[in-house]
């Protein structure tokens, strides 16, 4: 089951945030249809706890990358450390899947622990992002980030993720 | 609960534990208590010292217990109720450290009572009338308190009956007082 999805810029500004399969009561999540299950972070309207979580998620991805950098094994021939991109972080209750592009965007998806890898899905979403946001002449710059409210990105990303096996339990 | 019965896990761990001659063990403990009586004179002080020693042992032995049990039975989930904790002590803990298993009863949700039919610590012991107040096996209470304390359960453990005082069995009553909070408490999160 996919819980939530974040996109960050290199400097930690959150460009996009949404939650899926929200668990407000048992029948709340699915019946709310197209609008109810989704909260858009950048345009406000979220609780303080969610804002706090948004910072924690980036902070964790950032620090783990540093940590992994120190622990990466040496290449026997070159005596250089092998590059180890942070992929998944598992806890008992959830798994965090991350994908960082060379341009410094971080795509992060939280799922339940049964899903082992989302790497190629994250890359597919990156391609949607490039098509619908980066290449779009209509996207407005806002507070140093992209204002994606006028784009199809959110809709297309949701369509894509709903087809991923295990999107719902 | 896991499919493997706790007593089976206890047997596996016991079979892997190095053994010592039980008389050597009993005599060594006897010498220890006798020496404490000589050093402290008052039996109350000896009881207190035995309990303190037991706590120090328990704090260390809990890791022995947790690591060896998880190796013997990797699928056993952590205890989720105080009674399960009691079961594990009765069926695994006593087995792996003393070679005996004991019966258990639950007078209340926060209490369990362990019944030991033969106690290897006091095989040859009769308490003389002049030492009436001595709680010869007091170290066991300390071990229980110390080991559960290390997994953030503050308990009080005391004897209800003792074989060496003429009872037919030894019974240990263990009552849970509180769960010790982790270092990072609510106050920290608020900041």
């Amino acid at each position: 089951m996919i819980y939530s999805f974040y996109i960050y810029r290199r400097d930690g500004v959150c460009l996009f945030k949404t939650t899926y399969n929200a668990t407000e009561g048992d029948n709340g999540g699915d019946n709310r249809g197209d609008n109810g299950g989704i909260n858009r972070g950048i345009n406000g309207g979220d609780t303080e706890a969610e804002d706090e979580r948004e910072k924690l998620v980036f902070g964790m991805a950032f620090s783990l990358k540093e940590l992994i950098g120190q622990l990466s094994p040496m290449d026997g021939n070159t005596q250089q450390q092998i590059d180890c991109p942070l992929g998944t972080v598992k806890t008992r209750s959830s798994t965090m899947h991350t994908y960082e592009t060379l341009t410094g965007f971080r795509f992060i998806i939280y799922t339940d622990p049964s899903i082992n890898t989302m790497q190629h899905h994250l890359q597919a979403i990156y391609r949607i992002w490039v098509d619908k946001v980066v290449k779009s002449p209509l996207v407005k710059q806002k507070d140093g980030g992209y204002d994606i409210s006028d784009t199809e990105f959110e809709k297309r990303a949701k369509e894509y993720l709903e087809k991923v096996p295990g999107f719902r339990r | 609960m896991s499919k493997v019965p706790l007593s089976r896990t206890g047997d596996i761990v016991w079979s892997r534990t190095p053994k010592t001659n039980s008389e050597l063990f009993t005599l060594t403990y006897g010498v220890l208590v006798a020496q404490l009586l000589r050093d402290f004179e008052k039996v109350e002080e000896v009881n207190k010292e035995l309990r303190r020693m037991g706590r120090n042992i328990g704090v260390r032995l809990i890791d022995e217990y947790l690591s060896k049990v998880s190796l013997a039975s990797p699928t056993t989930p952590p205890c989720s109720t105080f009674h399960q904790t009691g079961d594990s002590i009765a069926k695994i803990g006593f087995k792996m450290f003393l070679g005996i298993s004991c019966d258990i009863s639950y007078p209340s949700p926060t209490t369990f009572v362990l019944t030991v039919h033969s106690n290897p610590l006091s095989t040859f012991v009769e308490i003389p009338p002049s030492r009436e107040g001595l709680s010869y096996c007091e170290i066991m209470n300390g071990v229980i308190e110390g080991s559960l304390g290390a997994v953030s359960l503050r308990v009080e453990s005391r004897f209800r009956k003792q074989i060496e005082k003429g009872d037919d069995v030894t019974t240990i009553e263990v009552e849970m007082m509180e769960r010790i909070k982790d270092g990072v408490g609510e106050g920290y999160k608020d900041e």
């Binding site: 964790m60 622990l71 094994p73 290449d75 992929g87 998944t88 965090m96 | 890791d63 022995e64 947790l66």
Partner: protein, 158 residues
């Protein structure tokens, strides 16, 4: 499969043991190791808070669950060829093992054996002071045996 590093962190985030296993382990000085230990300790705590569904309390340990939020921390990290696995004990200790191209199962087994080595040669050593750094040849040897066993060269327990 190659094991790279082992770190042991006590319940307050202090590093009590670290060692490396292979020529391909990146070199770390004492300060690096200390920092890695405490960084991981805090990230472990953050991970349970950042995790989206508010921690489900299905268990009913009175008055609250024995596996509290602090035990819902990082269990594994996968970063390309590098794998990190953490075993947190109910006593609050963390054993952190890193390896390259390794299976999670063998890392889990190695960690459980290392915990047994710790119980034997640290906790049962009367001269070991609780929460302090672990030093001792027997402990070192036990750790190495546990790890080598998983690489197919003997083992700590049989």
């Amino acid at each position: 499969m190659t094991f790279l590093h082992l770190f042991i962190v006590n319940k307050s985030g202090g590093l009590i043991y670290s060692t490396s296993f292979s020529p391909s382990s990146p070199p770390l000085n004492t300060n690096d190791s200390l920092r890695i230990g405490s960084t991981f300790h805090s990230l472990h705590a953050i991970a349970s808070q950042a995790s989206p569904p508010p921690s489900s309390s299905s268990q009913n340990y009175p008055p609250e669950s024995l596996s509290s939020s602090s035990s819902d921390g990082i269990e594994t990290i996968e970063a390309g060829p590098l794998t990190l696995r953490c075993l947190q004990t109910p006593t609050g200790l963390k054993f952190i093992l890193t390896a390259s191209s390794s299976s999670q199962t063998s890392m889990k087994e190695a960690l459980m054996e290392i915990y047994a080595v710790y119980a034997d040669f640290a906790m049962k050593n009367p001269f070991y002071e609780l929460e302090m750094p672990v030093r001792g040849d027997k402990f070192d040897r036990g750790v190495r045996q546990a790890v080598m066993g998983k690489e197919g060269k003997g083992g700590y327990l049989r």
